[in-house]
C-alpha cells in the first residue's frame, strides 16, 4: 500500500516538475520577440560586456547603436569608443573662491551630455553654503533661486562625480557594469547596467543618477558627438554620471569639458595630473587644496581650491 502511494507521489511529483518546466519554456517563448522583431533586439539582448567585445563585435555594436539613435532622432549621431590616452590621468580643479553659483555649468553639462530633460537629470549639483558655517552639508541649500548671485554671506560648491581613485560605486556593482578606466574616468556600460542602483547608494557624493523613465530630449537638442561610455542616449532604467566629457577630453587635441568652458568666472580647471606643466598640477602645488569627504578614503581626483 505504502509502496504504491510512494510510487504515485513520485509520478505526480515528476509530472508537476514537467508541467512547471513546460510552463516556463512556454512563457519564455511567448516573451521572446517574434520573427518580425528586428534582429537588433536579439543582438542587444545577447550583447557581451563592453570589455569582452572583440574588435569586430564592437564594430557591429557601434553600427547598430548609431543606426538606432540616428533613426530615433532623425539626424546623424556618431558613437565613439576612443580608448584612454597613454600617460594621461585626468584631474579637475574647482576654485571655491571664484564660484558664484550661477549654474551655467549644470546646463552646459545637460546639453553636452544628452541628459534627460523630463524627468530632469543633472550631473552637477551646486550647493549654497554659509560662509560662517563653512562646508557643513547639513546647512547646504541647492534649490536657491535669488534674483542675482552671489548672495551675501554665502559661497557655492558645485558637486559632480569626483572620479575617485578608489571608487566605492564600482565595488558594489553586482554585474561589473561600471569600472574605472586607465585614465581615471569612472564609466558605465548602459547596455550592461541592470538598474539595481547599488552604486547610487554607495556613492558618498550623490553623483550618480537614475533614469526612472525613458529620457526625453528634443531631437534638435541632441548632441550628435557621443561616446559609448559617455553621453550616448541612455535607455530607461540605467544609472549615469559625469565622465569628464569623455567624448571631448579623450581626443587629441581634446577640448576642455563643457562645464569648464562655460564657467563665466573661470573657476573650473582641467588637465593631466601626470603632466608637471599642467594647470591642475600648478594649482595642486601652489594653492590651498582640499578633496571632498577626504575621511572616506575615496581619493577623488576632483580638487577644490582657493586661488586667493
Amino acid at each position: 500500500m505504502s509502496d504504491i502511494k510512494k510510487c504515485d507521489d513520485h509520478v505526480l511529483h515528476k509530472s508537476r516538475r514537467k508541467m512547471l518546466k513546460g510552463l516556463a519554456a512556454g512563457i519564455g517563448l511567448i516573451a521572446m520577440p517574434g520573427r518580425d522583431a528586428s534582429a537588433s533586439v536579439w543582438e542587444e539582448f545577447f550583447q557581451k560586456h563592453f570589455r569582452e567585445l572583440s574588435k569586430d563585435e564592437l564594430k557591429g555594436v557601434i553600427a547598430r547603436l548609431e543606426k538606432e539613435y540616428s533613426t530615433r532622432y532623425d539626424k546623424k549621431i556618431t558613437v565613439k569608443t576612443t580608448p584612454p590616452i597613454e600617460g594621461v590621468r585626468y584631474g579637475y580643479g574647482l576654485d571655491l573662491s571664484r564660484c558664484i553659483g550661477c549654474r551655467r555649468c549644470v546646463y552646459a553639462c545637460v546639453t553636452e551630455n544628452n541628459q534627460s530633460r523630463t524627468p530632469q537629470v543633472q550631473w552637477i549639483r551646486v550647493m549654497q553654503l554659509d560662509k560662517e558655517k563653512g562646508i557643513d552639508l547639513s546647512h547646504a541649500e541647492h534649490y536657491y533661486n535669488p534674483a542675482t548671485v552671489p548672495e551675501k554671506g554665502h559661497f557655492y560648491m558645485p558637486v559632480q562625480c569626483q572620479q575617485c581613485e578608489k571608487p566605492p560605486c564600482t565595488k558594489v556593482c553586482p554585474v561589473q557594469a561600471t569600472w574605472k578606466e586607465n585614465d581615471g574616468i569612472v564609466v558605465v556600460d548602459y547596455n550592461w547596467c541592470i538598474g539595481c542602483r547599488y552604486c547610487m547608494a554607495a556613492c558618498p557624493y550623490g553623483a550618480r543618477h537614475f533614469n526612472w523613465a525613458k529620457p526625453v530630449i528634443a531631437a534638435k537638442e541632441v548632441n550628435p558627438n557621443t561616446h559609448y561610455l559617455g553621453n550616448r542616449p541612455r535607455p530607461k532604467g540605467v544609472v549615469e554620471k559625469c565622465t569628464f566629457c569623455i567624448q571631448r577630453t579623450r581626443e587629441q587635441p581634446g577640448r576642455y569639458p563643457a562645464c569648464a568652458e562655460v564657467c563665466p568666472v573661470g573657476a573650473r580647471k582641467f588637465g593631466n595630473l601626470l603632466d608637471p606643466e599642467s594647470e591642475i598640477r600648478y594649482l595642486i602645488e601652489n594653492k590651498r587644496v582640499f578633496i571632498f569627504k577626504e575621511d572616506l578614503n575615496t581619493q577623488p581626483k576632483f580638487y577644490y581650491f582657493y586661488a586667493t
Binding site: N145, W212, R255, Y256, G271
Partner: protein
C-alpha cells in the same frame, strides 16, 4: 648715520667686516637642511654651483614678456582707434571731471588715486603706458594690469586665473583681463542664476 652714532664703533666695524667676508668668501659644496611640505627635515647635498647666489635681477635687459594670442579687446562701439578723435585735441594731462565725452566711465578702481593717463598714454592715445614708460598695445593690456596685480597675472599666465577654452592638450584660448573685468570698474558683476533643479516628487518624477 644716526644709527651708527648711537652704536658702539667696534661692533659696527665687526659687523661690516663679517658682511664683507661672507659676501666675497668662496662657496663650497655643502649639505643643505630644509623643511619639506609636511614639516619633515630633509638634508640635500648641493654642489657649489647650486649654492652660488643667483645673479641680481637685470632691470635694463629684462626678459621679454611672453605674448598670448587673445581675442580683440572689448572696445566701446566705434571708440577705437582712439586717435581718430584725439588727434584733433590738445593733450591735457590735468585731472578733471569729463563733461563732454566718456561721461559713461565711472572710475571704481582705486578712486581718487587714478587718472586716465596713468594707464592711457597721453600723446599716442592708441597705446597704453606702463609705469616704466613703455608703451603697449591694448591687446597686451595684461602687462599693464599685471604691474599691480602680480599674483593674478602669474596665475593667469599658467591658466589658473581666468577662463580657458579650446583644447586642454592643445591650443588654449586666453582672454584678456578686460574681457571679464571692466578696467574702470573691475569688480565682477552679479549674475542671474539658471533655474534650480526640480524638487523630488514634482510631476515627471
Amino acid at each position: 648715520m644716526k644709527i651708527l652714532y648711537f652704536a658702539r664703533p667696534e661692533i659696527v666695524l665687526l659687523t661690516m667686516a663679517s658682511v664683507v667676508f661672507l659676501s666675497v668668501g668662496p662657496v663650497f659644496a655643502a649639505k643643505v637642511k630644509e623643511f619639506d611640505r609636511s614639516g619633515q627635515l630633509i638634508t640635500t647635498e648641493k654642489s657649489a654651483a647650486e649654492l652660488q647666489p643667483q645673479p641680481a635681477y637685470d632691470i635694463k635687459n629684462r626678459q621679454k614678456e611672453k605674448t598670448f594670442a587673445v581675442p580683440r579687446p572689448p572696445f566701446t562701439e566705434g571708440a577705437f582707434p582712439c586717435s581718430q578723435c584725439h588727434k584733433y585735441m590738445k593733450p591735457n594731462s590735468k585731472p578733471r571731471a569729463l563733461t563732454e565725452y566718456h561721461t559713461e566711465i565711472v572710475l571704481h578702481h582705486a578712486e581718487g588715486q587714478r587718472w586716465c593717463t596713468d594707464c592711457h598714454n597721453l600723446v599716442n592715445r592708441d597705446k597704453l603706458r606702463l609705469v616704466s614708460g613703455e608703451l603697449v598695445d591694448f591687446t597686451e593690456s595684461f602687462r599693464l594690469c599685471g604691474q599691480c596685480h602680480g599674483d593674478k597675472f602669474r596665475d593667469w599666465k599658467v591658466g589658473v586665473h581666468g577662463r580657458r577654452t579650446g583644447d586642454w592638450n592643445g591650443d588654449k584660448q586666453y582672454l584678456l583681463c578686460v574681457h571679464c573685468h571692466n578696467p574702470h570698474d573691475p569688480k565682477f558683476k552679479a549674475l542671474k542664476p539658471m533655474p534650480p533643479p526640480d524638487r523630488p516628487g514634482k510631476a515627471g518624477h
